[in-house]
Structure formats: structure tokens, C-alpha cells
């Protein structure tokens, strides 16, 4: 990895030992501060996983490095820093399955590719079915997945109990567990590390990452993007501007007059105090609006479905943690003495069909990579790769062809609600 | 049609362990509750829902509006309890077996008004209980988020809200200065609601029983 000719120190066990012995000098900065240039080839708005991955792949795959990533707060401060870090590819539509499967494959090698351990823990992912219609949907997903070569199958309560001994699989509960869609390659990841790994690599390629830099306006001349304006009064020219701002994405698109069928809903999450590891898989229940995994630090990380009304608030609610706790105890009654440590919320850019909006827009040079709703962290790598290709070639690659903005007016929805509403 | 020997038996939405008795064709619990906090099944009462303009002559004839109750002394609804249960929506409660008269009474009010209004007999479609005792507000504070302080819900007030997550009409109808509430909900959730009330009331020594002969149709002492 080179950084303007200089080598970036590589991370490895050996380099750690050298540093521990005091022989390595300083690690050096993973990402640096720069004075903004007056013009860039590409300006990416949003320093989340999508913006940073797009910058990384533009540089790595297409040699485009004169890029600025503008982030109004700190990198990862949006959904990328507050998501429950669940990765999987067991979607419902063939378009979706293919797309997310590519992402999981990229994630499998991301630590090595970025020389940054992102701690992808492929511990398996199970989605519980509590009634026959959801069991039918699980079978539907399993069959579609198998046809795409994705490892998915429906397992019965006995097998569930073997994988999760704490689960109450008795038939007498209010929401009996009839089966689950089991997806061994799914799992969790150290989400912040993904953000930092992409940022470090982009930085090493010469990309400028400007934190605390908010975009407040976008200049358009004759239906062509010419640059952006920032809250500190700067104007930065660029022929290409990419909207990677997830929950805030309509505010950015409104600046250029591109309407999007996106509505912002808070999504909440919470974490318990740690306990010794006892839960090796990710467990999701759509019926109970709950999902849970245990991190390598021992905490349980919980999530749910989006808040019941649109809002830009990340304050969180008591309702959420009450419902969550009730439902978690419904599944695993032995956890009632565990304590909830912290709750938070992030913003989700929901689309009508629970699929993203990617590619070109009616304004030339203005690209979008939005509509990530509650499920976009897992799509970071493939989106970065595809958006980079889209920008470099001026047209969306096949893998995202179905996700264009024009599909709504043309009535070609990609219905992922069945697999993404609570699924993560 | 052949003759069917057995006379039809009506059953309310609720059943509690213990003896039952049948009065006026209704089978209900026979236990008598004397404790400080009592839950009584008033399922057999006649229940009519009336709809019409919120502030027209139907309203004037019914004598009350959303949030309030009235017990007409005379007129076609004498003896009934009229609850303003929604904007332009009333609930009329009467003694078991008086359905025909009350229905006719409401219909005559509607006919006289010339307004677009309607009445539906939901006697069999709803569950109705009365909770009485000084600790009732404490019990209800476990299942209902509405503030029951006097300044918000005085005697004679009514509101609709979620009670143990069941949409319920709550009517404050004190009995001789003792707190008392009527709770009225859709029938199939009635047992669940009553069980939730009993569960929440254990701490206060709740008892389940039928209204006594000293009570009038709405469980109100005569």
C-alpha cells in the first residue's frame, strides 16, 4: 500500500511485536487531515461505509484518486457506526440474492484486502418462523437462495435448540417456534473497523477525507453538477458528486431537485452488559420484531424494526426497549437478569420496495447510492465496487441494473419486504 | 324445523373458575365478591352503539357528548346509562332483557331528529366489567397509561384508550363515593382483559364476583 510514494506501515502480528518492543516507531496516522483542494474529480458526500468504499474502489479498481469524501461529523457517525453489523445474503428476489452474495464474498476477504482486521465472524444467521405463513416465506427464500448457490435451508425446532441451547422451543409459548431459515455464511462484523479500514486504504491512495465538513449546497449549471458548497463557506468544484448520505439523502438530492421515494425513519438498537459467550449464532424473529447477536466482547446487541413514524430523531424510545426485552425473554427466558447498558438510534432511508436506489439521476454528474434502509451495511463492499464502476464508465453495471431510480415511475419494484423488513 | 327442547343459553365473554348461575337465560359466575377490590362481569347488559352528528338533535336527545355520561331519569332511555364514547358516538347500557325497548327508544330519537344516525345492538359483541374499590386507580395504573386523577377523569367521565393493549371504553362511575369504573371492549378479547385485570389486582386483593341483588343493572347500588 503506498501513500504518495511512501509506504504505509503494514499491520501484522509481527509489526505489533516490534511496536510492543518499542522498535517500530510510531504507527502513523490511519487517516490524515488535508486542506481541501479547490477542485476534485469526484466529490463523495457521506463518510459512511458506502462513501468510503466507493472512494476505495474508485482508486483501487479504476485509478481515480483525486477524490474528496465530505463528512459532516466523524467518519462512521451515520448508520455505519450505529448498525447491528449483521451480514447475510439470504434475500428473496434473484436480483437481491445475487447482489448481497457478492458483498458477503467481498467481506470474506476484506481484512486481507484492506490489511485491517474487520473481524468478520461467520457464525451463522437464523430467522425464526412463528407461524406457517412466515415458515412458507422461509422456504421460499431457501429455495431461491439455493438456486443462486447461497447456503440456506430451513431447520426444525430440534436443530434450532442444538444451535441455541438457551432458546425456548416448546410448543406452549405465545409465539411457538416452528422452524427457522438457517444461513451458515451469515454473521456479524466489527462495523467500525470496516469504516476505518476503507478510510485508511482510501487515504493511502491519496483520497482526501474531510471530517466535520457539511455540504449545504450543490451547484448545477444546465442540468450538470459543477460542485458543492460547505457549511464553512467553501466552494469545491467537481464534475461528479455522489450522494452516499443514507438517512439524510433526500436533503442532499433536494439540493439538485432530484426527487426520491425515500423516507427517513429512526431505527433503534441496544446493547446489554457483557456475559460469558453463550450465543453463537445471529437470531432474528420477524414476528417479534427482534434480533440478537452476541459480540466477541460478550454483549448482546439487539435491534428491531424501524420506529413507527418518520423522523430525524436519534433519541430512542422506552417503548422500543420494553418491546425488545419482552420479545427477547419470550425467546430466551433465562436472560431476565441481564442488564441493558445503552440504547441508541440511527436513521434509515426507507424505500417502498426495501431495495436500494443506485446509479445515475436526471441531473448529469449527480449519482446516488441510497435507500439502504435497515440493511445497507452488508452491502457496503458491493455497492462501493458497483458505484465505482458506474462512475468510471458512466453507466450502471449489470449487478445494480435493477436498482435504478426510474423503476418507481415505471412500476418495476424489486420486492424485498419479505426478506428485509426486520431481517437485517 | 323440528322442536328443539333445550332453551338457548347465553354466555358472556368471561368465565371464571367456580360455580355458575343462570339468570334471565344468561350463564354467569355465581360468586359474590365482598372484598375491597371487586371485578364483576356485566356481560348480560344490553349494549347499543349509536352514531350521529356530534352536535345535533340526536346528541341533544341523548343528553351527553364525548367524554361524559348521563343516566336519563325519564324519556325513552330512562334507567339506561348513556356514555359519550366517541365524537358523534354513544354507548347505551341497559338492564338485561331491555334491548327491545332501548332499541326502539333510540330509533325513535333518530327518527325524530331527521339526521343521518344509526344504532347497532352490540350486546353480544362486547365484554363489559365493573371494577370497584378504592385501589382501582392503582390497579388500572398498571394496565392503562391515562392519568386517572380527579382533575383528568372525574366521576361521570369516559374515555377510550388502550387497557392491557386492548382498546377499551373506560367509564368512571363511582359507587357511593367509592371509585368504580366500567370497562367495555370487543368481546373476543374480554377474557384476556379480565385476566389481565385480575393479575394486576392480586397485589390489592382483587375478587371476582357477580353484582348483587342490591345493585342495579349497571352494577350500581340502587
Amino acid at each position: 500500500m503506498s501513500r504518495n510514494g511512501q509506504r504505509t506501515p503494514r499491520y501484522s502480528a509481527w509489526s505489533l511485536v516490534r511496536h510492543g518492543l518499542g522498535a517500530g516507531g510510531e504507527w502513523g496516522r490511519a487517516f490524515r487531515h488535508h486542506t481541501p483542494r479547490q477542485a476534485y474529480d469526484v466529490v463523495i458526500i457521506g463518510g459512511g461505509v458506502h462513501g468510503l468504499a466507493t472512494a476505495h474502489y474508485l482508486a483501487e479498481n479504476h485509478g481515480i484518486t483525486n477524490i474528496a469524501v465530505l463528512e459532516k461529523s466523524y467518519i462512521g457517525s451515520g448508520g455505519s457506526g450505529r448498525n447491528t453489523a449483521i451480514l447475510r445474503s439470504n434475500y428473496l428476489t434473484p436480483e437481491g440474492v445475487r447482489f448481497y452474495d457478492r458483498s458477503v464474498k467481498l467481506y470474506e476477504h476484506l481484512a486481507a484486502d484492506l490489511n485491517f482486521n474487520v473481524m468478520f465472524s461467520q457464525r451463522g444467521h437464523m430467522t425464526l418462523a412463528h407461524n406457517d405463513s412466515s415458515l412458507r416465506t422461509m422456504h421460499w427464500r431457501a429455495e431461491v437462495n439455493k438456486l443462486q448457490g447461497v447456503d440456506s435451508s430451513v431447520i426444525d425446532p430440534g436443530e434450532i435448540k442444538k444451535l441455541v441451547p438457551y432458546m425456548d422451543v416448546s410448543a406452549s409459548t405465545r409465539y411457538p417456534i416452528l422452524g427457522a431459515l438457517y444461513h451458515p455464511p451469515g454473521g456479524i462484523i466489527r462495523h467500525d473497523a470496516v469504516v476505518w479500514g476503507y478510510a485508511r486504504s482510501a487515504d493511502a491512495h491519496g483520497v482526501h477525507i474531510h471530517q466535520k465538513t457539511e455540504v449545504v449546497g450543490i451547484d448545477v449549471t444546465s442540468n450538470r453538477v459543477t460542485g458543492v458548497r460547505t457549511a464553512d463557506g467553501r466552494r469545491i468544484s467537481a464534475p461528479v458528486v455522489v450522494n452516499c448520505t443514507a438517512g439524510w439523502s433526500t436533503l442532499i438530492s433536494d439540493m439538485v431537485g432530484v426527487d426520491m421515494p425515500v423516507q427517513t425513519f429512526p431505527l433503534q438498537a441496544a446493547v446489554t452488559e457483557p456475559v460469558k459467550p453463550f450465543l453463537d449464532t445471529v437470531v432474528v424473529s420477524g414476528t417479534l420484531h427482534t434480533y440478537v447477536s452476541q459480540t466477541d466482547r460478550g454483549e448482546l446487541v439487539f435491534g428491531a424494526s424501524v420506529d413507527p413514524f418518520a423522523s430525524y430523531s436519534t433519541r430512542g424510545s422506552l417503548d422500543f426497549v420494553e418491546g425488545l426485552a419482552g420479545h427477547v425473554l419470550e425467546l430466551m427466558p433465562a436472560l431476565s437478569k441481564m442488564r441493558l447498558l445503552r440504547q441508541w438510534a440511527g436513521l434509515c432511508d426507507m424505500t417502498p420496495d426495501y431495495s436500494p436506489i443506485m446509479g445515475l439521476t436526471p441531473v448529469e454528474g449527480f449519482f446516488v447510492d441510497v435507500g439502504w434502509g435497515t440493511y445497507g451495511f452488508k452491502a457496503g463492499p458491493v455497492s462501493g465496487e458497483a458505484m465505482a464502476a458506474c462512475i468510471a464508465h458512466g453507466k450502471p453495471p449489470e449487478i445494480i441494473a435493477a436498482f435504478g431510480l426510474d423503476r418507481f415511475e415505471e412500476g418495476r419494484l424489486v420486492g424485498e419486504k419479505g426478506a428485509a423488513a426486520v431481517g437485517h | 324445523m323440528s322442536d328443539i327442547a333445550a332453551a338457548p343459553i347465553a354466555r358472556t365473554a368471561l368465565s371464571f373458575p367456580g360455580p355458575v348461575r343462570t339468570t334471565d337465560g344468561w350463564e354467569t359466575t355465581a360468586r359474590h365478591a365482598a372484598g375491597g377490590l371487586r371485578l364483576a362481569d356485566l356481560g348480560p347488559l344490553v349494549k347499543l352503539t349509536v352514531r350521529g352528528p356530534a352536535d345535533g338533535s340526536v346528541r341533544a336527545a341523548l343528553g351527553t357528548s364525548f367524554g361524559h355520561t348521563v343516566r336519563p331519569r325519564g324519556g325513552p332511555l330512562a334507567g339506561a346509562l348513556v356514555v359519550g364514547s366517541g365524537p358523534g358516538e354513544w354507548l347505551v347500557l341497559g338492564a338485561p332483557g331491555t334491548g327491545g325497548e332501548l332499541l326502539a327508544g333510540v330509533r325513535s330519537i333518530i327518527a325524530d331528529s331527521g339526521e343521518f344516525a344509526s344504532v347497532v345492538d352490540v350486546t353480544h359483541g362486547r365484554a363489559l366489567v365493573r371494577l370497584t374499590g378504592a385501589d382501582t386507580p392503582l390497579l388500572l395504573s398498571k394496565v392503562c397509561a391515562v392519568d386517572l386523577a380527579d382533575r383528568v377523569v372525574p366521576d361521570g367521565a369516559a374515555f377510550r384508550s388502550s387497557v392491557a393493549r386492548v382498546v377499551t371504553d373506560v367509564v368512571r362511575d363511582d359507587v357511593d363515593g367509592t371509585r368504580s369504573y366500567l370497562l367495555h371492549c370487543e368481546r373476543s378479547s374480554g377474557q384476556y382483559l379480565a385476566d389481565s385485570l385480575v393479575d394486576a389486582g392480586i397485589e390489592y386483593g382483587i375478587e371476582v364476583g357477580a353484582p348483587t341483588e342490591h345493585d342495579d343493572a349497571t352494577g350500581h347500588p340502587r
Partner: protein, 83 residues
């Protein structure tokens, strides 16, 4: 839990209500083009600020009503007040 003020019942917990969405008008189905119709179906304003919206008081008076709400701090005011 945020409070929402129902014009009929007063301030109640928001969990008593169902959020319907931005108040918008239905295009004439006889003359609407597919583009207009689908904008009605799928597109909403999504401002960080005041928006006119419809709510349904499902656990209370069972009435639909309009209100203006600020999507940033959840402040509310009766529909019709202009900002």
C-alpha cells in the same frame, strides 16, 4: 414515549396512534399519467423540519386527523398553521 395531541381526545401516548404519512391529495384516476400516479404512490416529502401529516387514533376516538410535526424534535402544532 412522545405525546401526540388528538383534536378529540387530547394528548395521548403516541403508541395509541397509527402514523398514516404525509397528507397528500389523490390525483384524478381518470386523467393521471403513470408517472403522476406513481409519484402519489411512492414519493413523499422528507424534510428535516415541519411536515403536514395524517394520523389515526386507533386506540382512542378512531378518527383520522391532520397535524403538523417537526421531524427533528417532534414538536407539534395543529394542521394549518403556516411556518
Amino acid at each position: 414515549m412522545m405525546l401526540l395531541t388528538c383534536p378529540n381526545c387530547g394528548a395521548r401516548n403516541v403508541s395509541e396512534f397509527r402514523y398514516v404519512g404525509e397528507a397528500k391529495s389523490r390525483p384524478d384516476p381518470e386523467t393521471a399519467t403513470p408517472e403522476q400516479w406513481r409519484r402519489y404512490l411512492y414519493f413523499h416529502r422528507n424534510p428535516a423540519g415541519w411536515i403536514k401529516e395524517t394520523w389515526y387514533h386507533g386506540s382512542g376516538c378512531r378518527r383520522y386527523f391532520g397535524i403538523e410535526r417537526n421531524t427533528v424534535d417532534n414538536a407539534q402544532r395543529p394542521a394549518g398553521v403556516t411556518s
